[in-house]
Every structure is written in structure tokens, then in C-alpha cells.
């Protein structure tokens, strides 16, 4: 049986029943959030190769939306007219690896794209995103076990024994590598998957656009799905440069890394999952002026949207707009186990985040 036939044989065990089994009992808003989010989560797009995710976002836009892609690869949708211009930005990319070389034994040398524990990929299935198709392999386990999170440089075995055989499978330096991923529903309204950061933000912008009442907009609102956030906010920097001092505010729609876990300290990052979106008042890249946080809270209260306020770690795309005099008011949603293959969210927070984006666009 060739690999393709074997792959077909794998299908029955790969499709685990009830992964989305509770969807039929869900309220419509939760069902919509899951439908959009699961499609984005199950699409691959390591920093610099976001094309497939961008295509999914375009396919999920409302029919009236006119999307443009800039030279960096960011996707833009403009709605409404006039000042003050307000920008929302969520990023398309996910963490992963890139092939840097092919050894004589056929194995692949890698470099990381973004910040994460490489050990979480060690001894796991691998997918090389080659030019023509994905090539499966495995992340080679290490021989010793002296540290938890810092294995020697990881390599990938694609089942070959020579450089030529590996290249014959279509693999070449520059290809990106991830592991197979799946959106899986947990108990209640919770779900797990990899790359919720920032597919949740991308999904929330889509959901907000779908429900947006364009007739009440009092100024232009720009929705951007950015590239290369995980490797230095690169895409957002291009967008910020293009817009200059024009926008009044930017709302980075990105993860609020939550300490809602028995493994974390609770001195910051406290925003339990399931209790709504989070005003990301302080992180490693931005401090939101208090008056803007208060305004955000007022918008939430006026629209009856659940909103928490907290401080966390990490950077956000909005921070590269601030040198142009644009105020960064990031909004997130609580996430457990960030940048791991098993991130956990609550779909209620996705709904809340989308409602918050819509409320801000329509009323602030």
C-alpha cells in the first residue's frame, strides 16, 4: 500500500466522533463562532506563509466586503467614511518552524518562527508545507533528557535516508513545518486546538463584520488581518506606515494570555476563560491610557457585552501604530496554554469579543 492509500486508511481513526458534537445544542452565536473559527484553526499559516489563512478569511467575509491585499500580504477591508479613522488588526500567522537545510541522511534542519517551547513539538507528527503539497514526517525525539523545554535543535524525519530522496518528495529549504492540528470541542462551550492565537482574533473580526450595521457608522473603520506578527509585528508595521497619523485609534485584536490555570502564578494575567473579552490594559508592548480603558468599559456596559480588564505578557500589532500618534487600545480574549498544541478557549469569549468589536465600530 502506498502512502496515499495508507493515508486513506487513516481517515476512519482520524475523524474522532463528537469533536463538534455539541454544536447542535449551541445557541446560534456560539454555533457561528465555532463554524468560522474551526475553519481558520484547521488551516496552516506559519509566519511568512499566511496565504492559505488569508484565503480562508476572504472566503468567510460578507459578500459586500471589498478586500485588498497590500504588498506585505496584509488583508484590508474598509467600511464607512470620514474621520476619525479607527483600525482593528488581528494577525493571520501562527508559530512553527522553517527548513534551513537537508542533511545527507535525509533529515531536515529547522529554525523556529516565533516564540514557543520547541519541546512541545519533539516526538510528534510533523507536516512539511512543501510547495506542491504537505509532506508528513516526525519530529525526531532526543536521546537524552536533561531539560524540559530546551531540547537540542529539533530535526524532522520524512522517512527517507538521503538528501536526494527528501528533495524528491518536494521538500526544500524555506518550507515551513508544523504538526497536524485539529479543532476539538471540549466540555460545555470550551474548545482546544493549536493557533487559536490569533485565529480567534481573526474569526472575531469576521463575525463582527458579518453583523456590522453599516448604516450607523460615523467614521471609517478599517479591518486588517496582518502577517508576520509572531516574528516581529512586521505586517502591522507596514500597515501603520501606510496609514501614518490618519487613524485616531487602533485596536489590536489578539490573545490575552491568561493565568487561569493551576500552573500559573496569579499576580497578573488573571482573566478566567468564559467570562468575556478582555481589555488588554498592559502588556510587554503597550500601556493603554486609562481614559481609553474606561471608555472601552463604558461601551461594553452600554451594549451589555461581557468585558474583563487585565494585564498580561506579549506584544501586540497595535503597538507599532503608536509612534504615529495612534492610541493602541488592544482587546483580547482569555487563552490557556498559549503557543502550545493544546490551547484552550471558551467560545463564549469569542462571541463576546466579536460583539465588542462591533460595539466599538458602531458607537465609539
Amino acid at each position: 500500500m502506498k502512502a496515499t492509500t495508507l493515508a486513506l486508511a487513516l481517515l476512519p481513526v482520524s475523524v474522532v466522533p463528537s469533536l463538534r458534537g455539541l454544536a447542535a445544542q449551541d445557541p446560534p452565536a456560539i454555533r457561528d463562532a465555532q463554524q468560522v473559527l474551526s475553519r481558520l484553526v484547521e488551516t496552516y499559516g506559519v509566519s511568512g506563509t499566511e496565504g492559505p489563512v488569508r484565503d480562508q478569511v476572504k472566503a468567510l467575509l460578507p459578500t459586500w466586503a471589498k478586500a485588498e491585499t497590500d504588498t506585505a500580504g496584509n488583508l484590508w477591508v474598509r467600511v464607512g467614511q470620514g474621520n476619525p479613522v479607527v483600525v482593528f488588526v488581528a494577525h493571520l500567522d501562527e508559530i512553527g518552524f522553517r527548513v534551513t537545510g537537508i542533511r545527507d541522511d535525509g533529515s531536515l534542519e529547522l529554525e523556529t518562527r516565533g516564540g514557543f517551547y520547541p519541546s512541545l513539538f519533539e516526538a510528534q507528527p510533523a507536516l512539511v508545507h512543501a510547495d506542491k503539497s504537505d509532506v508528513p514526517g516526525v519530529f525526531i525525539p532526543r536521546d537524552s533528557a536533561f531539560t524540559r523545554h530546551t531540547p537540542p535543535s529539533l530535526r524532522v524525519d520524512v522517512g527517507t535516508t538521503s538528501k536526494e530522496a527528501t528533495m524528491a518528495r518536494g521538500v526544500s529549504p524555506g518550507n515551513t513545518i508544523t504538526m497536524p492540528k485539529q479543532y476539538v470541542r471540549l466540555a460545555g462551550t470550551r474548545a482546544t486546538g493549536r493557533s487559536f492565537d490569533d485565529r480567534v482574533g481573526s474569526a472575531a473580526q469576521l463575525l463582527a463584520l458579518r453583523r456590522l450595521n453599516r448604516t450607523v457608522l460615523q467614521h471609517q473603520v478599517i479591518f486588517i488581518w496582518s502577517v508576520r506578527e509572531e516574528i516581529g509585528l512586521d505586517g502591522a508595521a507596514v500597515a501603520a506606515r501606510a496609514l501614518g497619523t490618519t487613524p485616531r485609534r487602533v485596536h489590536a485584536i489578539d490573545t490575552f494570555v491568561s493565568a487561569d490555570s493551576p500552573l500559573e502564578l496569579s499576580n497578573f494575567g488573571v482573566a478566567p476563560i468564559g467570562r468575556g473579552a478582555v481589555a488588554r490594559a498592559l502588556d510587554n508592548s503597550s500601556v493603554t491610557p486609562r481614559a481609553y480603558v474606561d471608555s472601552l468599559v463604558r461601551v461594553a456596559r452600554a451594549r451589555g457585552v461581557a468585558l474583563q480588564v487585565g494585564t498580561t505578557n506579549g506584544g501586540n500589532d497595535g503597538s507599532v501604530f503608536t509612534p504615529y500618534g495612534v492610541v493602541d487600545v488592544p482587546i483580547g480574549w482569555p487563552l490557556r496554554y498559549s503557543h502550545s498544541p493544546a490551547e484552550v478557549i471558551d467560545l463564549k469569549d469569542v462571541v463576546s469579543l466579536a460583539d465588542m468589536i462591533r460595539a466599538v465600530a458602531e458607537t465609539w
Partner: protein
């Protein structure tokens, strides 16, 4: 069609002793590799085996046995079907599960438990399989907190907090989860290369798949062959195999099916399915041959 292919197909069509095992064993290996059989708690997999192999029965210990042929000599052909895994040891008030490992004295991979960290698991509750994850510290929140040069100890099962999406112990019980529920890494058998199969315990599962495929090939057994898929090979001194010998023996000869594997004891333990196919042929030949 080339002359050689034509000759081969004609030969296969008229020769009952030459059988093609490849597709059968590939399908069975994938199927078995997707199952979970934590040592001592193998019931779900043995249920599948008894359904798959008509005439097979489960003995009092849990082994699945099938007797082929009759008369002397009486021989035993077996494969161990269990795996090192986990059970729920405690349920915390906030809905997280704590684990206890079952088996593991023979584990060769020093990071066996660490494979749980930040990965999907399946909890086998009384109301069915429940997906969950083993918690891991968020990368972002760890930044700037570690002391440079400080050791980063290897993860053990004592560090494992399983999150099934529940908010309370009552939520967990509502999912049918109680202490002793089996837990394993989520199984997604992964094909790569040229008929390579990666999965936890892939070597054991490929061997059992080869044994099942050999039985399904309906070999003309000389004498009696007891085929046994044994439990508890990784706990209490291979109790399953010992009990088969005690209950159904004595045997003139015994053979244990095995397939070579690499990346042993990892989530990507890998077997070459052509080795499993060759094993099927070897097992059939063994059953048909005079001792």
C-alpha cells in the same frame, strides 16, 4: 500489462498458498494503533478483537484467545496488546484531573511522561471518550520569570493537570469520569515515508495486527495453535501471558509476534508496514509448518 505481471497475476489466481497480506495488515495496524489499551484496562480493545475474530473468547484475566486446528502438537502464538498509560487518580474541585501512570518499568524513552505536556489526551469515561488536554505553562507568562541557568526539570506525571473543559468536579462527574478512568495521549496514527506508520505503541499494535491478519488468512494449521492477544504484559510480571499458559497449556512451542520499531515509547514510535506484512507471512508459515 507486461509479461511478468501477467504471469504473476495468473500464478496468484491459481495458487491458494500465495496470499497478499499487505492491505489487510496495513488497515489492521492503523486501526489497532488508534485504539487505547492501558495495561490492566484493555477491555475496549479486547471487545474489538472478539468482534473482529469470530470464535475468539475473552478469558477470566481478559486475554483474547482463539484455538485453531486440533490435535497435537499444541502450540501458542501470542502478541501483547497493552500499553503504558494513565488513569485518573484524583479530581480537583476546579475540574482538573490528576493522573497516575500504569506500567512503565520497561520504558526506554526518558521523556515518556513529558509527552503529555501541552498535548491532547483522551479520558475514557463511563459515558464514552472525553477529549482533554494536559496543561502547560503559557510561553508568554514564563518570559522573564526563570532564573538564567536554573535547571528546568523534566516533566513527570506528577505535573500533569488534565483540562477537559470542566469548571468543577461535578462537571467532570457529569461527563462520566471517575477515578480509575483510563487516560492516554489522543491517538492519531500518522503515515509518512514509504509505508511507515507512527503512533504510540505502534510496534505492539503492528505485531497484533499481523497476528490478526494471519488468523484472517485462514492458515491450514498443523496440530493445534492457540492464538492469544494478551493483557497486562507491562504490569505484574506479564500476567496475561502467564495465565494463558496456565489455563490453556501446556504448549509444545510458543512464539510471540513482534515488529521492529524506532523512536520506541514515543508518540511517534514508527514501524515499517512492510515488516508487518512479512511478519504475517512468517506467522502463517509457522502455523502451517510441522514443528
Amino acid at each position: 500489462m507486461t509479461r511478468l505481471r501477467l504471469a504473476l497475476s495468473l500464478f496468484l489466481s491459481v495458487s491458494p498458498t500465495v496470499r497478499l497480506f499487505g492491505q489487510d495488515v496495513d488497515r489492521l495496524a492503523v486501526r489497532f494503533a488508534g485504539m487505547t489499551a492501558v495495561t490492566g484496562l484493555e477491555r475496549a480493545m479486547t471487545d474489538s478483537l472478539t468482534a473482529l475474530l469470530p470464535g475468539s473468547t475473552r478469558d477470566r484475566v481478559g486475554n483474547v484467545t482463539l484455538t485453531l486446528g486440533q490435535g497435537e502438537p499444541k502450540r501458542l502464538l501470542s502478541c501483547p496488546l497493552d500499553e503504558v498509560g494513565y488513569v485518573v487518580g484524583n479530581i480537583l474541585p476546579d475540574g482538573f484531573l490528576l493522573l497516575r501512570r500504569v506500567g512503565g518499568a520497561r520504558i526506554t524513552y526518558p521523556l515518556f511522561d513529558q509527552q503529555l505536556e501541552g498535548h491532547r489526551v483522551t479520558v475514557f469515561g463511563s459515558r464514552g471518550a472525553v477529549p482533554g488536554v494536559a496543561a502547560v505553562k503559557s510561553t508568554h507568562l514564563a518570559r522573564g520569570r526563570g532564573t538564567s541557568g536554573s535547571p528546568d526539570p523534566v516533566f513527570t506525571v506528577d505535573n500533569a493537570y488534565v483540562d477537559v473543559g470542566a469548571s468543577s468536579a461535578a462537571d467532570v462527574r457529569g461527563l462520566g469520569i471517575a477515578a480509575m478512568a483510563p487516560v492516554s495521549l489522543a491517538k492519531h496514527p500518522h503515515a509518512y515515508g514509504d509505508r511507515l506508520l507512527a503512533a504510540p505503541a505502534a510496534g505492539r499494535r503492528a505485531a497484533c495486527a499481523a497476528l490478526a491478519a494471519a488468523v484472517q488468512a485462514k492458515p491450514k494449521v498443523r496440530g493445534t495453535v492457540v492464538v492469544a492477544f494478551t493483557v497486562q504484559s507491562l504490569y505484574t510480571g506479564d500476567a496475561g501471558l502467564a495465565s494463558v499458559k496456565a489455563l490453556l497449556g501446556p504448549f509444545a512451542e510458543t512464539k510471540t509476534a513482534s515488529v521492529a520499531a524506532r523512536y520506541v515509547d514515543t508518540a511517534v514510535e514508527t514501524v515499517a508496514l512492510q515488516d508487518a506484512e512479512a511478519l504475517v507471512q512468517g506467522l502463517v508459515a509457522w502455523m502451517e509448518a510441522s514443528p
